[in-house]
């Protein structure tokens, strides 16, 4: 019942299974990490931490045991590219994980797959079994003596916050998925207290690709601070929703032209935790240095009520906040109440101003990325659509 989502040419199609893994194992772990670093790739999950640096940190830790974790808890509203990657290029992800294992000195990889993607599990298990048969996993992987990397799948149980890497680790340990205090970072003390590398599904697939096509190739694409290509999940009011590959730094305008979304009123970049960009700013670049995204692009046509959008996002966060820290647990409820007041035409300008200041506190005082980013959409909608959100008739009692 699920239909093909791919909408343009995607580089992963050019890469064969194990090709990147074979290439990467030709060089030393140090050289491999250098390659990753030189490619300039940053985390494809959304936070955008330089991947090479993360690998180097985890590699530098001395430990008898380390873990490589693939974050497949793709829960950001509007994103589905990781699902598409697993449906089409699972081998590249596993190649990337094995490369990471080789680079940092880990022998165990775990895929944390969100509960909603249970239907993918069988296929992925089959793929892993195939790889074991071909000695792309398991003892003396690819004939390299002492490199015994294997991967298993751990199912999520339905919690958006587990996309945050320390919450994910807590979940793996059998606990409530609540973000940890950092430092220490997972690179030093992660799963079961061991050095742990957590990367997004797409990041691993790109690493395998970079091993084949070279770090210079990757670096040559995109912008200086946001190198390479990226998959985007496009949904909302467009002619052809689906997964697209674009270079980083693409402008919102260009992107809308490609996907058939011209004439949009606004675009939500980065999902519920991202920013709502109004049409006046469609020349902005989708890149870490401008508007960052893990790939979620939701297009709003002229007919959309952005207060409905803000309400939907805040309902999401009110439910999906892990609930441990005060700003996020209560703050999102307060913002939601405020949006509902606005919808009813019952919110004073003074109170809206207070809520905006509260939202700013949430951004800097919350414990993890969820609370820090949950007010983004609210703030950008209030900032850019003031006229629209205040123009409500009070609801007759």
């Amino acid at each position: 019942m699920i239909q093909e989502s791919i909408r343009n040419q995607i580089t992963f199609s050019q890469i064969a299974a194990a090709e990147g893994l074979k290439a990467g194992l030709q060089i030393t772990p140090e050289a491999l990490i250098d390659q990753v670093r030189e490619s300039g790739i940053r985390g494809r999950g959304g936070a955008g931490f330089p991947t090479g640096l993360k690998w180097a940190f985890t590699a530098a830790e001395k430990s008898d045991k380390k873990y490589v974790i693939c974050n497949a808890d793709e829960g950001e509203p509007g994103t589905f590219k990781d699902r598409v990657i697993f449906e089409n290029w699972a081998d590249l992800v596993f190649d990337g994980m094995a490369l990471a294992g080789y680079a940092i000195g880990a022998d165990e990889g775990i895929v944390y797959l969100r509960a909603e993607y249970t239907f993918l599990r069988e296929k992925l298990e089959k793929c892993l079994a195939e790889r074991r048969k071909k000695v792309l996993l398991g003892e003396n992987c690819l004939g390299m003596k002492g490199f015994n990397f294997d991967i298993h799948i751990h199912m999520g149980s339905g919690a958006y916050v587990c996309g945050e890497e320390t919450a994910l680790i807590e979940a793996l340990e059998g606990k409530r998925g609540e973000a940890r205090n950092r430092p220490p970072f997972p690179a030093a003390s992660g799963y079961l207290g061991k050095p742990t590398l957590v990367n997004n599904v797409e990041t691993f697939a790109w690493i395998a690709t970079i091993m084949v096509k070279g770090s210079d190739w990757f670096r040559g694409l995109g912008t200086e601070k946001s190198s390479g290509l990226k998959l985007f999940s496009i949904s909302g009011d467009v002619e052809s929703p689906g997964v697209y590959e674009f270079p980083m730094g693409i402008s919102v305008n260009q992107l809308l032209t490609e996907v058939g979304g011209r004439g949009a009123k606004a675009v939500q970049i980065g999902g519920a935790s991202g920013t709502c960009v109004p049409s006046a700013e469609f020349d902005r670049a989708i890149a870490y240095e401008d508007v960052a995204t893990g790939g979620s692009i939701i297009v709003f046509g002229q007919q959309r009520d952005l207060l409905d959008v803000a309400e939907n996002f805040l309902e999401f966060f009110e439910d999906e906040s892990c609930g441990q820290c005060t700003p996020c647990r209560i703050g999102n409820s307060k913002l939601l109440e405020g949006v509902r007041l606005l919808k009813k035409g019952e919110c004073s300008a003074k109170y809206l101003n207070e809520l905006c200041k509260l939202a700013e506190t949430m951004q800097i005082a919350s414990k993890c990325g969820l609370g820090q980013s949950s007010p983004n959409a609210f703030l950008s909608i209030v900032k850019h659509f003031r006229k629209e959100i205040f123009n409500r008739e009070p609801v007759a009692v």
């Binding site: 699902r83 909603e116 939701i298 999906e320």
Partner: protein, 160 residues
């Protein structure tokens, strides 16, 4: 010989402990498997698994109540989860929701009297390009429209 519900639960859990181990990190896989086998995680099962893993029942409850796919206690054979997040919302989830409620005669969070269908909301399911999306147990339906709801429900009515 008749064995009690509790003994059956315990047997089941012991098997799962053998499969997943008796450490804390086995807790969620055990709960997931138990839910899949039994439909829901019972009060007794939470206490029994705590005992087997040498943790306290409150800790198990803390975990169960945290995760949507563990905490819901749908009684129905078929659990319908409709995505309520933005893209599916814009694609018309509200009309689908109304149709589901009308056709089943229950509201979200409820189970039909015959115990066959439970209706739940879900957050983003990752098929935003094909909304509204709906899961029935593990089967995913995309681009669901109100007129398709009846058809989908009928296909399950004939199953056990």
């Amino acid at each position: 010989m008749l064995i009690s519900q509790h003994e059956q639960t315990l047997d089941q859990l012991q098997g799962l402990v053998e499969k997943h181990g008796d450490q804390r990190n086995a807790l969620i896989p055990i709960l997931q498997d138990f839910r899949d086998q039994s439909g829901q995680i019972t009060d007794y099962a939470m206490q029994a698994v705590a005992n087997l893993l040498k943790i306290e029942p409150s800790e198990v409850y803390g975990v169960v109540s945290f995760y949507s796919f563990l905490s819901e206690r749908p009684q129905g054979n078929f659990v319908i989860r409709l995505c309520r997040t933005i893209s599916c919302d814009m694609a018309g989830k509200q009309a689908v929701a109304r149709q589901l409620e009308n056709d089943l005669g229950i509201t979200f969070g409820e189970t039909t009297k015959d115990g066959r269908f439970s209706l739940e909301w879900a957050n983003c399911m990752g098929v935003c390009d094909q909304g509204p999306a709906m899961l029935v147990n593990e089967t995913l339906y995309t681009k669901v429209s109100p007129e398709k709801v009846g058809e989908i429900l009928d296909s399950f009515k004939s199953r056990a």
